[in-house]
């Protein structure tokens, strides 16, 4: 069962339509999950507040090695903190999420994604494909970056570290390519 974390604000239904999981904020359901999707809409602090009661369960599950997919804020919360506001993230990855400083911010719209490392998340997807972005904060390029997007700042548009997958764009809003990314995650064994 795939647990789609209910962050009280977000595009849960579109995601769940494809991954066919269970939208939940019940720690017992999350404990039973064999995959987790963390969709994110909202601000860093707001989302961290909203998952207060299940934060430890999510961290434990990620550390147990089950596949995790963070979407947008679900990528950002993997870090210790964010320039967006106070509060601690899940601290699965060390460092801080930065604010975009070039061009118009937020970064809104369809932008190209350059695949720089192989990841099963992008199987069947052409390099340079368009995905939909909607964010003001980003993870800098790092060892786990598998795809980048150049928006003046180089955005880690997708990352993978072992069982942890994360995308800055919204696959649930990115047409056929986005559906493929979600299916790729769903079908991971």
């Amino acid at each position: 069962m795939i647990a789609v974390i209910d962050t009280q604000a977000g595009n849960l239904f579109n995601i769940n339509k494809i991954v066919n999981g269970e939208i939940t904020r019940d720690p017992y359901v999350i404990e039973r999950a064999d995959k987790i999707v963390f969709p994110g809409v909202g601000s860093f602090s707001f989302v961290m507040d909203s998952i207060e009661g299940i934060k430890e369960t999510i961290i434990e599950k990620i550390k147990s090695g089950i596949p995790y997919l963070g979407i947008c804020l679900g990528l950002e919360v993997l870090y210790d903190s964010s320039e967006e506001g106070p509060g601690s993230g899940l601290s699965i990855l060390s460092g801080s999420i930065k604010k975009l400083t070039k061009n118009r911010v937020p970064h809104i719209g369809w932008d190209t994604v350059e695949l720089i490392k192989d990841s099963r998340l992008f199987s069947g997807i052409k390099n340079g494909s368009y995905f939909y972005f909607l964010h003001s904060y980003y993870a800098e390029r790092n060892d786990y970056t598998v795809a980048i997007t150049d928006y003046g700042n180089i955005i880690s548009s997708a990352m993978q570290k072992d069982n942890i997958y994360a995308v800055q764009f919204h696959p649930e809003k990115s047409g056929i390519n986005g559906i493929q990314v979600l299916k790729n995650f769903r079908d991971l064994i």
């Binding site: 809104i108 909607l134 809003k173």
Partner: protein, 250 residues
């Protein structure tokens, strides 16, 4: 590279898509979900739903419509019209809309911009500005273009950015529905003065109008009539733009 966006406008009244001219003379067009799917297939980058009578009739947008659209399309969409509380904003996002836009309520109570951007995130909050040239400056109007506010649209745009708005949906009341071209001067003035994306709205009639709006500084171009009446598809507009060096998603 970030693509310029073509945005389809769906004005909603009683659950149906309608279209007026200069905010008046309203005609029924089609079922919103059916039309949304068609537009997605034709290359639309984004959709905006406006419940055009919500503010003036003091009622909320049809929530049922939001979930139906969310279930049926895989491109982003924005919802607005008659939104007057943080609860409504949160509910709309929760039902599957990507962005919410507010207009009248933000003018009456600018503090909502701060509060909403904290909860739903700045990127998901759009402020709609309806403007009309009054002989000396572009003046902000509220309540579907009925009430003039003695506020300069350019100054208001700067204010909403400071308060946390993530995007501006900028409509020229005079140009709306005329298909005679956007108000390029308005687009230029506003986009030069803010650092958040600006969606140009009102007056699109030909592919050239979209091109000119982008040249004037628009990050996205919204249109209703040209799509509703089948004059052009989003892909046809984008092909025209691409041939002229504009970066679009095709």
């Amino acid at each position: 590279m970030l693509a310029k966006r073509i945005v389809g406008a769906l004005d909603i009244k009683d659950g149906r898509v309608v279209k007026g001219i200069k905010f008046r003379d309203i005609r029924t067009i089609d079922d919103p979900v059916k039309l949304s799917k068609k537009y997605e297939e034709q290359g639309m980058d984004e959709l905006v739903f406006l419940d055009i009578y919500a503010t003036n009739e003091n009622r909320g947008i049809t929530y049922d419509l939001i979930s139906r659209v969310a279930e049926n399309i895989n491109i982003p969409f924005t919802v607005g019209g008659g939104i007057d509380s943080l609860d409504k904003i949160k509910k709309i996002i929760r039902l599957g809309a990507d962005k919410v836009f507010i207009n009248t309520y933000a003018i009456i109570n600018p503090d909502i911009i701060k509060k909403a951007s904290y909860e739903i995130g700045s990127s998901n909050l759009v402020i709609a500005i309806d403007a009309k040239f009054n002989g000396s400056y572009y003046e902000v109007y509220s309540n579907s273009g009925e009430i003039s506010r003695n506020i300069n649209a350019v100054e208001w745009a700067k204010t909403v950015e400071e308060l946390g708005a993530g995007e501006i949906l900028l409509t020229s009341i005079d140009a709306d529905g005329t298909r005679k071209g956007y108000d390029y001067n308005l687009i230029k003035k506003v986009s030069e003065n803010v650092n958040i994306p600006v969606i140009a709205s009102g007056g699109a009639g030909s592919p050239e109008d979209f091109y000119n709006a982008i040249q004037s500084g628009a990050d996205a171009c919204l249109a209703g009539s040209v799509f509703h009446y089948g004059m052009y598809t989003a892909n046809e507009i984008k092909k025209y733009l691409m041939e002229r060096g504009v970066n679009v998603r095709i």
